[in-house]
């Protein structure tokens, strides 16, 4: 499918143009079942948050609304600083990786889309072929590399594998197809150099795609587990998922504290979702249909 065909689809998905029909029993039943299913879907999240607000004596009852909600669990968990470091580590890593991906994936995508040069096709196929290689196959060589260069247990060590992605490059290449060549020609005649054209002319025209890419990369790195687990070994360098995993595994940790840690690592992405919902769902559709 080409990009121009996609646009109306993604827009149509978000519109709720209603063919007006009177509600009948079937539709009411359908709505009710979908609603109950949806409520069941968010139950684990609801119980996680509710339990993080409970006192120990009411953790094991089935009530969703705590009798006396309080934030003691959060102060307790954040007090010794570990969750605070982990949060900061995850944030730094996810933000830097996201910026890197937005810049490099779009630069490569733009080059492969808008320039004609010998070797273009080979570079494209080579980058695309890396999509077939699972991360798990690369972790051993990455680990050896990190060991050799002293990258173990550093931010750089956690970040380096994800600084560019073939998926992002491919996504951006597809989107630059929608930028008319005339715009680029016009900018060239105006005397802009190629770097300026990419940054000031082409990039602003693909902002929705950049937003989608940024959200995916951020979410992916925020929740990444296996590589940070391998490459970190001191508690201060853990990311939130690795930290939460080790915290939960400690003997005698109360479940309400684990739920609090889980909530700390989940609530930021839920907030991002509720704010940027429209972009995210549009992004999922764009990425899904193009990827």
């Amino acid at each position: 499918m080409t990009a121009t065909e996609i646009r109306p689809t993604t827009d149509a998905l978000l519109k709720t143009e209603a063919p007006k029909k009177p509600a009948n029993m079937g539709q009411i039943l359908r709505w009710t079942l979908l609603f109950l299913g949806g409520v069941a879907m968010v139950m684990p999240i609801a119980y996680m948050i509710s339990t993080s607000l409970k006192w120990p004596h009411e953790v094991y009852n089935l009530k969703l609304i705590p009798d006396e909600p309080h934030l003691e669990n959060y102060t307790y968990v954040l007090e010794d600083g570990r969750f605070y470091w982990w949060f900061v580590n995850s944030m730094i890593i996810a933000v830097i990786t996201t910026i890197c991906n937005v810049i490099f994936d779009s630069l490569v995508g733009y080059t492969l889309c808008k320039f004609r040069f010998p070797g273009r096709y080979i570079v494209f196929i080579a980058i695309l072929s890396t999509l077939m290689i699972p991360t798990e196959m690369l972790v051993i060589p990455w680990y050896l590399m990190s060991q050799q260069f002293g990258w173990l247990d550093t931010y750089w060590g956690i970040m380096f594998p994800g600084l560019m992605t073939a998926f992002g490059t491919f996504l951006m290449k597809q989107f630059f197809e929608t930028v008319p060549d005339d715009f680029i020609e016009a900018a060239r005649i105006d005397g802009l150099n190629e770097l300026q054209i990419w940054w000031t002319v082409a990039m602003p025209l693909v902002k929705p795609a950049l937003a989608a890419l940024a959200i995916f990369v951020f979410l992916g790195n925020w929740t990444a587990f296996i590589w940070p687990l391998i490459v970190t070994n001191s508690v201060e360098m853990y990311t939130l998922p690795v930290g939460l995993s080790s915290f939960g595994d400690e003997a005698d940790v109360a479940w309400e504290l684990i739920m609090t840690g889980a909530a700390i690592s989940t609530i930021p992405t839920l907030i991002v979702f509720l704010i940027f919902q429209r972009y995210i769902i549009q992004g999922v559709v764009m990425a899904g249909l193009k990827g």
């Binding site: 709720t16 359908r30 968010v42 040069f117 196959m137 690369l138």
Partner: protein
């Protein structure tokens, strides 16, 4: 010198200038490690001692290892339960959600929200749900209506589906959204024509909707299969006291790789396992594409 170049030559210079850092990155961080992993799979190496060539020894050892076959089977059970079940559920939800107008956006949000969670966090939440009485939510709920407790993560039979459930749950919203986009892309005129002809909804579903959804179905099947074959975060976090347990009944290939490489430090053996994982992913994807595209 640059000034004397033609426009076309200037473009070539810019293109390679733009690609220089990325090409370096992909060579060093993707291609070299891929080759290196394959190379290490033919060596015996425990990180400290010497690397010695052993030919196919790692592979022979792997295929003779009963744990590997257990793990191999588990990996496919994740795939063979996870993919069809999540495909069916997400299609049913998308099909009906597509026809609902009242609070459509709100319902969609409910289904999509789990996709935005962290797998590790949710694995711990579900692990708590699965605990025996008086701790676990599910068993407490069963107890409150008088049903005896259920050994979710303790049982060798039920532990695997119990671990699979949160993985499927988290990906469901994504699949629903993709399905709905696919459904919206089907031209209305087909349905109009069917309605004029008085065709039943069941026939419409099988003769119009599903055939036209094929590209969407292919994408979801391949994408979710890759996810289930690579399952790790949920298994690791729900069974940290005995990773992959009880009795290896939940252990997938990626967890075996992790343990071989980073608990036993048997790098050559682990590398051979990653090569097998790569081949499994490749073969499964190709078979699925072939079957689904042709039929």
């Amino acid at each position: 010198m640059y000034r004397n170049l033609t426009i076309r030559q200037k473009q070539i210079v810019w293109a390679w200038a733009f690609l220089a850092i990325p090409i370096l990155f992909y060579s060093v961080i993707r291609f070299y490690p891929t080759g290196n992993a394959i190379l290490i799979s033919f060596q015996d190496w425990n990180l400290l001692g010497d690397r010695t060539w052993t030919g196919l020894d790692n592979y022979q050892k792997l295929f003779a290892d009963p744990v590997f076959w257990k793990v191999f089977k588990n990996t496919f059970v994740y795939l063979l339960i996870g993919t069809p079940v999540s495909l069916l559920i997400s299609f049913v939800i998308a099909y009906h959600l597509d026809q609902v107008r009242f609070m459509h956006g709100f319902l969609r949000t409910l289904y999509f929200l789990p996709f935005m969670t962290s797998a590790v966090a949710m694995a711990w939440v579900w692990r708590w749900f699965y605990q025996p009485v008086p701790v676990g939510l599910f068993n407490n709920a069963l107890a409150s209506i008088g049903i005896p407790q259920f050994p979710f993560l303790q049982s060798t039979t039920w532990a695997l589906p119990s671990v699979l459930a949160p993985a499927g749950w988290a990906g469901l919203g994504f699949q629903v959204i993709i399905f709905m986009a696919g459904l919206r892309a089907i031209p209305r005129s087909y349905y109009e024509a069917a309605r004029i002809d008085g065709v039943s909804w069941w026939t419409v579903l099988w003769e119009i909707t599903l055939p036209l959804l094929k590209p969407t179905i292919v994408f979801i099947v391949v994408f979710s299969s890759i996810g289930f074959l690579r399952i790790f975060d949920h298994v690791f976090n729900m069974t940290t006291n005995n990773p992959g347990g009880p009795l290896n009944s939940t252990k997938p290939l990626v967890l075996m790789i992790y343990e071989t490489a980073f608990s036993a430090f048997d790098m050559g053996y682990a590398a051979a396992q990653t090569v097998v994982l790569f081949l499994v992913l490749l073969v499964v994807s190709l078979i699925q594409l072939r079957i689904l595209r042709d039929s």
